[in-house]
């Protein structure tokens, strides 16, 4: 039995190796390390606490039940975020929630399509982040992130909130590196526009 706390200094790969050997403490350590980042990512994606809890739980159950088949040549955190993001995106696709963009769909290539996909503001589930939205600029940014297209949202959260590299994000989201960069810069552009408009008000 491994004493609780002694795993904290170990790397993810070392903890996963112990989990593969059947150490329950290692499983708990992996949950402890990733519960906040995974929950935060999913919460900001789906904007509903109960739902985010359920999807985070699903994510960890999937990850931990498949830990024996985890291949150490991949970064463990990338694997966890990949499953978490897939869970959130699958849910958003099913519910057809919040496809919001100040610029319209990135796939819209005619003015009519851009017009048709611009500013589709959802009225559902907005109050879930009420407490953070009350804080002035932080709240404005939270609100602005919530209004981004889900693809942009994943990218900007992974890059600038979770601090992942462009390459890792490309691996997590299964997207070409160029697409990831484009999504992140479009998202930042939307956030800049919003911040500027808030300043000018």
């Amino acid at each position: 039995m491994i004493p609780p706390g002694s795993l904290r200094a170990k790397t993810d790969q070392e903890v996963v190796a112990l989990a593969k050997e059947g150490s329950e403490e290692a499983y708990r350590e992996l949950i402890r390390r990733y519960e906040r980042p995974v929950f935060s990512l999913i919460f900001r994606m789906v904007r509903n606490r109960e739902l985010a809890e359920d999807l985070s739980q699903e994510t960890f159950i999937k990850v931990l039940n498949a830990v024996q088949s985890y291949r150490p040549e991949f970064k463990f955190s990338s694997w966890v975020f990949k499953i978490a993001n897939n869970a959130a995106i699958d849910h958003l696709r099913k519910r057809e929630l919040d496809t919001l963009s100040l610029e319209g769909s990135p796939h819209a290539d005619t003015p009519e399509l851009i017009e048709a996909t611009v500013l589709q503001v959802s009225e559902r589930g907005e109050n879930q982040l009420q407490e953070v939205e009350n804080r002035e600029l932080g709240g404005t940014i939270e609100q602005a992130i919530a209004r981004l297209r889900p693809e942009y949202r994943s990218c900007i959260l992974l890059r600038h909130v979770e601090g992942r590299t462009y390459e890792e994000i490309a691996e997590i989201l299964n997207l070409p590196l160029g697409t990831v960069k484009t999504y992140i810069h479009r998202a930042r552009n939307e956030l800049r526009i919003l911040l500027r408009s808030v300043r000018e008000e």
Partner: protein, 194 residues
Amino acid sequence: MTTWPTKHFTADDLDAFHSEALSSEMRLHLESCPDCQKLAKLDREVLALLRELPSYAPRADFGERVMSRVTVEKPGPVPVLSFPRLTRRRIAALTALAAGMVASVAWSSSNRVLLDAWLDGTAASLFNWGSALWQNGVAELTAQPWFETVRQVSDTPLRLALAAVAMVGLYGSGIFALRRLVTPSAGTVSNAGA
């Protein structure tokens, strides 16, 4: 007077600006361009706000709820050597095998002359059979209608060399085609469940 086109900040320049890796050309531009100064300042503020966003925690019993639905797999011990369980039938088979081997060695030791004669006779028969097969094969080959044409092709050393090169080329193409057929595609394989 020539006026150069203004090259404002691109997305990559913004990234370079934040990581303090901006090119000297763009640094000079930034010093004199109010639009790019505004853009870089605003982008820096956006990034700072993003970095300061709080992280959220699930409910306190989250870990317990996950663990209640996870199966902690303990790998079984790996045996260094494993033997099948000895049943009565297996013991009988092993005893018969050992007895047969002992009897064989004993008989060979006591009948050495007879064994040598048998081995010599068998070796001679095998040699005779092999040479007869070879002679028949060669006779069959030279009797084929196309044999004369092939012989004429390899009449001179040059022709022989050309024929050999053609044969090697044909063999190489065959191997290459076979490799293409039997090699599985090497696609990227992501982790389980991802």
